[in-house]
């Protein structure tokens, strides 16, 4: 039990909370309410006047085949990004757990990519995958894949997923390393004595006990893939070719900022918000039940 802090002054607690509240209000509630407000308005072509149109914007957006394509792209992109960034991070963390000498050094190296800005991460992968100068592109051609992400949609998707997943691996790695360290060694030893070989031990003991970490990262990574990957997609493919990598967030930007369809863009933002809230709720409700803490 932590004792309650008692403030002598009535206003001091609010004063201390004020900066946090101000930031949340200015940078979250205000834009969110603006989006809600805009989503039920329609602007005239010159942007001079807007009028109330009810749910018209939502109807139009949801009937638009481009929007439905974008939903599908986002589903594929988010699932693949979250899966690969977590799977690779887990693999690396399990291997790092076995490293004894130079442990700290190895971990520090692993954390660096997290400090790289999304756009720069994107540029890095553009170079690696560039059909004419990229070293990975060269390798791919060498194994007989005709590599042209500028024209081939699925290949462009591979590229953005690689960049987005790569960027998040460090973060996931850190959490998995901590999660692995929290598993008592004697459990692994007991399982070994109980006749379980390393692979079996991993899937029957280690992986289930990592579940709280994995669940937390699943929520974080899904949110990341939905929202924070705009910079990468913008830098790597710009949503193309065609609309093969146009995720929901990217479409909000291209419709709103490039095509000046403020009402549509706002309606999309609202839908996006609802999707993320729903997704997180579902994750907490159904996945967390299978998680055993402690």
């Amino acid at each position: 039990m932590t004792p309650r802090v008692v403030f002598p002054n009535k206003f001091l607690p609010y004063l201390l909370l004020a900066p946090q509240l101000a930031i949340t209000l200015v940078f979250f509630y205000w834009p969110a309410s603006q989006a809600l407000y805009q989503s039920v308005l329609k602007e005239d072509p010159f942007g001079l006047r807007s009028r109330f149109v009810g749910l018209d914007n939502f109807r139009r957006v949801l009937a638009d085949p481009n929007y439905l394509n974008s939903v599908e792209v986002t589903a594929i992109f988010s699932t693949a990004t979250a899966f690969f960034s977590m799977a690779i991070a887990l693999l690396l963390a399990v291997m790092a757990d076995k490293v004894i000498r130079g442990r700290g050094f190895y971990r520090t190296l692993m954390i660096w990519p997290y400090a790289v800005a999304p756009a720069i991460a994107g540029m890095l992968w553009i170079f690696l995958f560039n059909p004419s100068i990229g070293s990975l592109a060269y390798l791919l051609r060498w194994v007989g894949i005709s590599w042209d992400p500028l024209l081939n949609g699925p290949q462009a998707m591979v590229m953005v997923v690689s960049a987005a997943a790569w960027k998040q691996i460090s973060y996931n790695f850190l959490f998995f390393v901590a999660g692995l360290q929290a598993i008592p060694k004697s459990l692994i030893e007991a399982a070994a004595i109980d006749g379980a070989r390393p692979t079996k031990r991993f899937w029957t003991i280690v992986f289930p006990l990592l579940a709280p970490t994995t669940f937390f990262l699943l929520v974080i990574n899904t949110t990341y893939a939905f929202f924070d990957t705009f910079g990468i997609i913008h830098a790597v493919t710009g949503g193309g070719p065609g609309k093969a990598t146009e995720t929901l967030v990217f479409k909000v930007y291209s419709d709103g900022a490039l095509n000046q369809l403020l009402g549509d863009s706002a309606a999309q933002s609202v839908i996006l918000m609802i999707i993320v809230i729903a997704l997180t709720a579902v994750q907490f409700r159904y996945v967390e039940r299978k998680v055993h803490y402690g």
Partner: protein, 346 residues
């Protein structure tokens, strides 16, 4: 059914920490061997080498006559009860017990039969559907025992299995472990720092000190003839009284041993006598009572004598009070003699 043989087993941890410095023990089939010694003397390390959890720096460990140095814990067919029990927190009690059988491909109906039979023996039947965190310390301990027993392994290994229980439960479980081990007849190695546990459980008692074996044998033989001052003061509670012998020290009027540097006698072997009323070869000390500890059936008198502290056990209530002066006598056949290096002199 198996024998366990250790031949000059050594363990050096990275950083040149010599945890075990050449231990040889032969455990006969079905016997319970107890490794006892102070914290840090290498008991766990030795046990973990038998389990295959630590590599063996040199020497050999054999189970059933077969050297197992190069065999991993998975294939040694042993079971271990850990100090913290190491129950799988995400599995129900049933699955904790079934896990080892499943890993070895035992048929489902046989697993069920064996788990239920073991649960019955250990009175765990009503707990099978619970998870470890829903159990008390004593229940967890029983599940850990059950997980070991259900596998019917060649060897049981116990690393201080009772040290997390309260005194009463510890006493009960001690008796129960002894009975189970007897009835199952599985060769066992049991590590403890508690000399009472060691004395009561052991068929073969091994007293360890700083990575070496001080003395091994039948517990009562060790109690009656401790091979060194270390064993003398470690086995028995309260420990043996040890006094510097020879010049200026304590010694009987006659019959002192050649080369003895220390003389000892057990608290229960001391008698309170009247002044001048002792045989010439007995050790007689003038003592002043400093404290009296009545335990009920017996009392302990803590006294100052011959420049040292000694403990005397008297049965029932003690008549003595702090400050009283007594004459404490230990008969010749009850005296233990040790040389300057602490070894027993006979």
């Amino acid at each position: 059914m198996a024998t366990v043989d250790l031949k000059d087993v050594r363990k050096t941890y990275p950083g040149n920490v010599e945890a075990v410095k050449g231990v040889s023990i032969a455990i006969a089939d079905g016997k319970l061997c107890v490794l006892v010694g102070p914290s840090g003397c290498g008991k766990s390390t030795l046990l973990r080498m038998i389990a295959g959890l630590e590599t063996i720096t040199s020497g050999t460990v054999s189970i059933d006559g077969k050297v197992v140095n190069a065999i991993g814990p998975t294939d040694r067919d042993i079971a271990m009860v850990f100090q913290n029990y190491a129950l799988y927190p995400h599995m129900k009690v049933y699955d904790n017990m079934a896990y080892g059988l499943r890993n070895r491909g035992t048929p489902k109906d046989e697993i069920d039969r064996r788990v239920r039979a073991t649960a019955k023996t250990l009175e765990l039947e009503h707990l099978l559907e619970r998870r470890p965190r829903e159990l008390s310390g004593g229940q967890r301990q029983r599940v850990a025992m059950g997980r070991a027993i259900v596998r019917n392994p060649k060897v049981f290994l116990f690393d201080e299995p009772l040290s997390n229980l309260d005194a009463k439960l510890r006493g009960q479980m001690r008796v129960e472990i002894k009975n189970l081990q007897r009835s199952l007849g599985v060769t066992s190695v049991y590590v403890t720092h508690d000399q009472l546990e060691a004395m009561t459980l052991a068929d073969l008692l091994v007293v360890m000190n700083a990575g070496t074996v001080e003395q091994a044998g039948n517990p009562l033989d060790i109690y009656e003839k401790p091979a060194s001052t270390f064993v003398a003061s470690f086995i028995g509670a309260p420990p043996m009284n040890l006094l510097p012998a020879g010049q200026g020290g304590a010694a009987p009027a006659s019959g002192a041993r050649e080369g003895a540097a220390t003389i000892g006698f057990r608290p229960e072997d001391a008698e309170i006598a009247n002044a001048g009323d002792a045989p010439a070869d007995a050790l007689a000390l003038d003592a002043e009572v400093e404290a009296v500890e009545p335990v009920g059936a017996e009392s302990f008198l803590y006294c100052a004598a011959a420049g040292s502290r000694i403990v005397v056990r008297v049965s029932g209530r003690a008549a003595a009070q702090p400050g009283d002066r007594l004459r404490v006598v230990a008969r010749a056949e009850k005296l233990h003699w040790f040389d300057a290096s602490g070894r027993r002199v006979d």
